[in-house]
């Protein structure tokens, strides 16, 4: 689905991503892990185009479009039109838009002309329906996180990019989110690129893992291969 090759990224003079290679297989959930500040968020932002990359390739193969698309050539807004949904870290909801308007922004990326918010979003997060007319910024942290996920789902993406989606959400809804992701993967063939620190969640819902350290992947494999040793080695401070 997405193949990342030799990606290099700089913030000013600081080199954040180093020759990063990463494969995100279609129809699977790939989980990126790593300590604070190793560049996970930066990686996702690079995929979305929110930060410029110095070199490297981002090859995207959509399930419906014919061939391979080089994402680095595409503008940010075009990427979401290709079916990439993004749940950023820190929620990034539009604080002064109502909840409903926040969701409606996702419609811009849809190419099927649908102008209605899919029912599923409200089913998954009933609180959003309840608070439809409240300003996004007034929601509680967890509600905002739900909104951010709901908003990405409005696009009905082919590739869903999640940056610590469970942050600040109550446990039962976290579980529910995990289940929905699984469901989408299994039923609709969704591909997921997930950044997650919480091992139980990752273990339960991800198919593959990648551990990053200082801007490059240091370990990867099936999630079942994620041993305590690896964790100790790469995730302990």
């Amino acid at each position: 689905m997405l193949a990342i090759e030799k990606l290099n990224q700089f913030y000013g003079e600081s080199h954040t991503l180093w020759d990063l290679d990463l494969e995100v297989p279609a129809g699977q959930c790939t989980c990126v892990m790593g300590r604070n500040g190793v560049g996970k968020t930066t990686l996702l932002k690079a995929v979305m185009g929110e930060v410029a990359v110095k070199s490297g390739a981002l090859r995207y193969t959509s399930t419906d479009s014919s061939g391979e698309i080089e994402l680095t050539q595409k503008a940010v807004e075009a990427r979401s039109r290709l079916g990439i949904g993004y749940v950023p870290q820190g929620r990034q909801i539009f604080p002064l838009l109502t909840v409903e308007e926040n969701l409606r922004t996702g419609l811009a990326a849809r190419r099927d002309g649908v102008r209605k918010i899919p029912e599923r979003v409200y089913e998954l997060f009933p609180v959003l329906e309840e608070m439809k007319n409240r300003r996004g910024g007034d929601l509680s942290g967890g509600q905002q996180q739900q909104l951010a996920i709901g908003r990405a789902l409005v696009i009905e993406p082919k590739l869903l990019i999640l940056d610590e989606p469970g942050e600040g959400i109550q446990p039962n809804i976290v579980a529910q989110i995990g289940q929905v992701i699984r469901q989408l993967i299994n039923e609709d063939g969704l591909t997921v690129l997930l950044v997650e620190q919480k091992l139980p969640f990752a273990r339960k819902y991800a198919d593959r893992f990648v551990i990053m350290d200082r801007g490059r992947p240091v370990a990867k494999g099936e999630i079942s291969e994620l041993s305590n040793e690896l964790i100790k080695q790469h995730l302990t401070v």
């Binding site: 913030y11 000013g12 003079e13 929110e50 410029a52 990034q92």
Partner: protein, 384 residues
């Protein structure tokens, strides 16, 4: 070590004098003062190196503008208050000085009235209004130069900061303030000479204003005031208080949760800045020979902000560069291409914003960094 990024390891340990850029600034300023004096006094007129009284006077004016710009940069750059009304404090300081100079005319006015200024005779006032009393004494007038704008800033700032007026709302009410004052001072009933303002000054502290020596003296006084004002501002912004200001600028509410009474800090800096602006106004008036309500005009206040922006916000020395640069450009352009200078000035503003995102100071920083570290730096992407 850069001023803007403030990444100097011992930055917080230092006081203004120990900073390289401040030292450079002061040295350049004082050297300029000395040089100008030398070229004015020692080099005979006619020599191409001679600096005439006109130029000395002109630079005196620029320096007073520079002090004003420093005052604005203090509140805008470090406190995040975009004041669109600093012209008001400048003008009030100027009026205080103007009133003193008016009283110094004595009976040498056209009507020869020993007490009443000409415009009052002219409009048939029969006695001096109460607020004109005391301005015949230099110490009183000079105190008022600082106190009057300071007091206005205190009252205004107290109200505004207490109510937590911020951002554009604060900008607009500062603008409303100066606009209201402009209209008020235009009114002849106010007793400040209406539209004509105060003119025809003769002498200051017994020195004849129309001599070159006095002009040079005023120029030097302004330069020294600028240096002192700069040091004061620098001391403030490099102190912990300066960092509280920056914190307030970026996250006002958060600063409160740390236990800082933000409104008092804002008020303090605002009042200091207003007083500096008043001082600048007082130095400006004897050098240009007139003070009238157009100094209160909102557009003038916006222009001050433009100087600061053009020079580079939150650097202080950038404000000085901006003020001098813009006004010098204005002088040159209006003389060289009187019909088209607005194109040049407007173009300058556009050019600087688009190509020099951090103003002239930013350019200097950049060049300095380039010299220290020749690898080109890719521009930082703006991320949300």
């Amino acid at each position: 070590m850069s001023l803007t990024t403030q990444s100097s390891a011992n930055f917080w340990l230092t006081r203004p004098f120990s900073e390289r850029s401040t030292q450079i600034f002061l040295v350049v300023l004082l050297a300029t003062l000395a040089l100008v004096t030398l070229l004015h006094v020692a080099v005979p007129a006619g020599n191409p190196l001679h600096i005439g009284a006109y130029t000395v006077n002109l630079f005196g004016k620029y320096l007073s503008y520079a002090l004003l710009a420093v005052a604005v940069d203090l509140v805008w750059g470090y406190l995040g208050i975009l004041s669109l009304g600093h012209g008001a404090f400048f003008a009030i300081g100027g009026y205080a000085m103007g009133m003193y100079l008016m009283r110094q005319i004595g009976d040498r006015g056209t009507y020869g009235d020993p007490v009443l200024p000409d415009f009052m005779v002219f409009l048939s006032w029969d006695s001096l209004p109460w607020f004109w009393h005391g301005f015949d004494m230099a110490w009183f007038a000079f105190a008022m130069v600082l106190l009057a704008p300071g007091l206005l800033a205190l009252v205004f700032g107290f109200l505004a900061f207490r109510s937590r007026v911020t951002g554009v709302y604060l900008s607009i009410i500062t603008q409303a303030l100066t606009f209201a004052l402009m209209l008020a001072f235009f009114r002849n009933e106010m007793g400040f000479g209406g539209n004509n303002g105060l003119t025809d000054f003769r002498e200051i502290l017994g020195f004849d204003l129309r001599t070159d020596a006095t002009r040079l003296g005023l120029f030097l006084a302004t330069g020294i005031a600028l240096a002192l004002g700069f040091i004061l501002c620098r001391a403030i912004v490099t102190s912990k208080l300066g960092r509280v200001s920056v914190a307030t600028r970026d996250a006002e509410a958060r600063t409160r949760f740390l236990g800082y009474r933000v409104e008092r800090f804002q008020l303090f800096v605002f009042v200091v800045s207003a007083m500096l602006a008043g001082l600048a106004g007082a130095l400006y008036v004897p050098q240009v020979g007139i003070i009238n309500p157009s100094e209160f005009s909102p557009i003038f206040s916006i222009e001050i902000v433009l100087w600061v922006a053009l020079g580079g916000r939150a650097t202080l020395y950038g404000a000085v560069i901006g003020a001098i640069l813009v006004n010098y450009a204005k002088t040159i352009f209006t003389g060289v291409m009187p019909d088209a200078w607005l194109f040049a000035l407007g173009g300058l503003f556009v050019f600087v914003t688009v190509f020099l995102p951090k103003g002239v100071a930013g350019l200097l920083e950049h060049l300095k960094r380039r010299r220290h570290d020749p690898t080109p730096t890719p521009d930082k992407e703006a991320t949300a």
